[in-house]
Amino acid sequence: MVRSFLGGAFANTAFSLLEPDGETRLTGSGRGPNQVLKPGRRGPRSADADDSIVIEEMTNIARRFRPKGDLTDQTLQDFHTFRQALNVASADQRLLLFVVSPETSHSEVKDKLQPVMADSAVIGRFHVDFADQNTDQEWDEKIQRSNNKAGYFIIRADQFGQSGSVMNYLPLTSSGNQVKAALLEANREFADTEERKNYGDHVSLGRRERIYFENEMPYGEDRDGDGVIDHGAIIRQGSKGKGKGKGKGR
């Protein structure tokens, strides 16, 4: 899918705006909004992205659509795996609400959580993930204070998002208001005790500690779109074309 947005290449970012059907493109595609929405079309290009023009372009596109439905019926977030949810919660520095429930209770639990997660005091402050029977069986292996029960787990990811701890646990029988109250209380404690990460320091520490996140997808990018992941810098060879080398910068 990413390749379709980058002319066959595969890189670590890709962007486009799409209609609600998910198929029709509203804009071109590229590595990011500033590249695609082309502030440069209105004047000379500058090193600094003209965010106000990007916002204006997006506002104009959004005006073409009339939103429908109630926010309290919104689709709940879910991740492919608990591992990825924990990683993202760490990266975004938000708490993770992890829901473990029997399949027969999914619908009931989601009905209860939808208005909670749409609440103005809650929305945009947490990530939500539902346990998957196939991929998340050993979800609590590296989570402190976990238990092997069904319920709502409010989890604080650690610095590198590969382990964490349960801040609070509520049984599935808890009401929506009880879940909301627990989330807000945990978020207050989190805000008081968590420091905003410094990207550079985080990466430096990760290198020293040899942190690595295993992923099922292949490692690297395919910038020339030949279908093969580049395991080094692409060496441009001028009019002779381009090739792939090992790259001295690794």
């Binding site: 705006l17 209609e19 910068g249």
Partner: protein, 84 residues
């Protein structure tokens, strides 16, 4: 109009990848990871509500008739987790 709520924000999470700066030896290709500082968003404050799978984003876009802001990004830097 609040832009973030006017779109369904979808970010497809990509695998670990060498950063531009690493790949080019740091001489070109953008900002070096070690030069990027801290975000300014207060911890615990409201931020963008976004979807991390295509299925959930598409379902919500169809339900609410909002366009999709599609962004694919690696949820790691140089294979290091816990950072975008």
């Amino acid at each position: 109009m609040k832009i973030a709520s006017a779109f369904i924000i979808l970010s497809i999470l990509l695998p670990p990848s060498l950063s531009d700066a690493q790949r080019s030896g740091g001489s070109k290709g953008g900002v070096r990871p070690t030069d990027i500082g801290a975000g300014t968003q207060p911890i615990g404050a409201e931020s963008i509500m976004w979807y991390t799978t295509w299925d959930t984003a598409l379902t919500e876009a169809a339900r609410s008739n909002r366009p999709i802001f599609f962004m694919a990004a690696a949820a790691t830097c140089s294979g290091i987790s816990g950072v975008f």
